[in-house]
């Protein structure tokens, strides 16, 4: 496997290992925000992988997208709770659709 993929995958495994080793839990009230934020982070990560495979990866775009999407998703959820509107659904739908689109694109690129 290309080193380009091995190191990020190693980072993923390292993060998982770190999460398993560090018994860290967030307060219950923030669990929903973290859920949506993780979904946004997943979307950004799959988008980055897709760009990496397509050789159009830009670290600036990736990092800015990763951070901003994550924060924005959590912020939308927070605002939705304060306004009494389920705005997090919008984030879930948007990121969910993009996630599947990215997965489909990655699948096609890998098959080709």
């Amino acid at each position: 496997m290309n080193r380009r993929f091995c190191i990020p995958l190693f980072g993923l495994l390292l993060g998982i290992l770190l999460g398993l080793l560090v018994r860290f839990e967030i307060p219950a009230v923030y669990a929903r925000y973290l859920s949506v934020a993780v979904l946004a982070a997943l979307d950004s990560s799959f988008g980055g992988l897709r760009a990496l495979i397509e050789r159009s990866f830009s670290s600036r775009i990736f990092l800015s997208g990763f951070v901003s999407n994550t924060i924005l998703a959590a912020l939308i959820t927070f605002l939705g709770d304060r306004m009494g509107v389920n705005l997090y659904l919008a984030a879930v739908v948007a990121f969910g659709v993009r996630l599947f689109q990215n997965l489909a694109a990655i699948r096609r690129l890998l098959i080709k």
Binding site: G15, E25, S45, L52
Partner: protein
Amino acid sequence: MLPQQPRRVRPSSSSARHRRNRALTTTSLFICLGVLGFLVVVLMRTQGALGNDLQARSVDELGRLVGMLSQEVDRLQQEETDLTIKAIGSHYELRSDTEVVTRELETLKALEVLVGAVPSRGDGVRLLIGDSENHLSSYEMCLIINELRSAGAEAIVMNGRRIDYDSGIGGKPGRLALQDSPLVTPLVVEVVGDREALLSAVKMPGGLVSMLSQLPGVEIDVETAADISVPPRSYGLRTFDYAVPID
């Protein structure tokens, strides 16, 4: 002329930028995926620890939950009411059954006393009837028994023998017989019942005492008696072949 130093080939600016970009790409992906992996694990642990924690639920979910709980509370209250009603019904039914059994037992005891299945005892009055001229007939004897029963006699003993519901007195004056056993005078008639009622009944004008006293040679003396013993029926209970109770 100085010897020409071998010229060091400097990497081109584009390839250096390319390598830098690759390193930046790898590093950024490494960090972001590491963060993502860490967050996923934290999230999974948090969700696992939360379980059904209400704090993690949205307002809508909490509203639905409250609605469901309200419906459940209503259902449970209805069930409690039904069970309470059922319990009260069962209690009354049980009490009713107990009362019925008690009444039946009382009836049975009364019937046992009535038919002479068991010996009995009680207060009452005692009549001493003398008939020196043998004027007492079976008619007068039946009159005595009827009058005493009308006065409320619960049991009648004549010369130590019980007067049953099917007892018969026959014979001619002076040779009276109770169920084929002779009745000799003076007769001792013991009556279990309300003393006052019996005394007033037999002593009232036109009553038993005044009626029997009109017969020549008949003397009657009435007194109260305590703890009169009434023997049981001497010839067993009668069996009924034709008369059956109506349910």
